[in-house]
Amino acid sequence: MKKLINDPRSVVDESVEGFGLAHADLVTVSADPKYVTRKDAPVAGKVGLLSGGGSGHEPLHAGYVGRGMLDAAVPGAVFTSPTPDQILPATLAINSGAGVVHIVKNYTGDVLNFETAAELAQAEGVEVRTVFVNDDVAVEDSLYTAGRRGVGGTVLVEKIAGAAAERGDSLDAVAAIGDRVNSNVRTMGVALSACTVPHAGTPSFELADNEIEIGIGIHGEPGRHKIPMENADGITDRLLEPVLSDLGISSGDKVLLFVNGMGGTPLSELYIVYRRAAQVLAERGATVERSLVGNYITALEMQGCSISVLRLDDEMTQLWDAPVHTAALRWGV
């Protein structure tokens, strides 16, 4: 394992510290308990938006703290959900009285820890709503499983709900638009290589030189199955098909197309995937109204990508276009 780190146990501390130094104009960092808040939090009258989860997915979530997106990010250890004793004070710190929405990726650990924190916050008089993100079509969704994972769609939920909060929507309205984004987005991923969790020191799974993992998540966990290596167009088709059919995309639909890198794949390759995905959508008669291409929700240095499609309506498009000023996503300001 070769990494630009000092000590596997201090990775998150030092990385978040560096983030705070580099973006002191945007955020305030609380070192212990660890969380990151928007510089001007709590913003008077505004619903607070908080997300968090294991570290290792940078720029998620701290990279999305700022005007028009999150008010707080709560980083756990690498690939480990944060604990209520971080989530609670972060929630209190961004509550202006209008309540706080938690955006939670649907993993057992995240769900349980955020659930506890939300109960504790309610007990302290803060209204909390939770938006669960579960956009991963690679995972079977049923009452008898842990359900679908939250992956690429998380970034879109955070941006659009963030814009709704910024324009002054109520607590329930912000949560509702978050849910609406989640209901209209699906994602599927592929890994060409595994990643190495610093404290583990060995790659999270093995792949032969001619194998790839289809249906990968963002925690270095193995995917649904291995297949022999294919070319970019073939892989794109494989990822996109289940996304589009699960969403029921048909002619005339307007969509946001999001090609996300897992951390170790060159941007040039993401554009090759984007090219094919755009072709397929055009063949289906869907219009790509907005695009996002880059490393926005990652799994350390994993090579691979995910494709997310969000079915847009006019309000979502408007909220997507609204100004945002964070370390990792910025426009209109």
């Binding site: 294991g54 604990t83 057992t108 650990g109 842990a146 966990e221």
Partner: protein, 209 residues
Amino acid sequence: MLLDVKWAVRWLTMCAEAMAENRAWLIELDRPIGDSDHGENMDRGFQAVLEKLAEAPPETPGAALKLTAMTLMSKVGGAAGPLYGTAFLRAATAFGDALEVDPAGLATALMAARDGIVARGKAESGDKTMVDAWTPAAEAAQAAADGTGNVLAVLVAAAEAAEAGAVATDPLVARKGRASYLGERSAGHRDPGAASSALILRAAVGAAA
């Protein structure tokens, strides 16, 4: 012999040792069917428990477990943190203020711990989770307490059943937790949380022996 606060502190100390010793193994169990952090999480959590115990030595077994519950909840994270936190909290509540715990009280506390995990995680037996260690352990403890067992016999029964339960997760297909994302591919691997549960209950025996 009854179980007192000395036993409880010894138990938690031996848990910490077990987690440190088995850190790498638990990470390795979590690698193929999870995200390679379970050993790290448990080790971090129980090291913090050791510090807390040193800072404010508890006066009853219940207090020791409650302190453990709060610490695990705030230091472990992931799925295991809230689940173990709930388990220890329910056991602590079952112990109450008692200075000493008898076989029946012990069995009741273990069953409460198991119920807490089920209430929190909503997993059933056979879902390939720590429930598959705790359910047989709690049941075996109850049976041993109902018989002529002393506390040691109850602890031994629980530990052995937990270990068997953990081993029995090997062929299962996971339906809860991260391993469930793998579907059929989760079969053939031991559940890391069941394995750490067995370590915890084994340490309880060592602390009483």
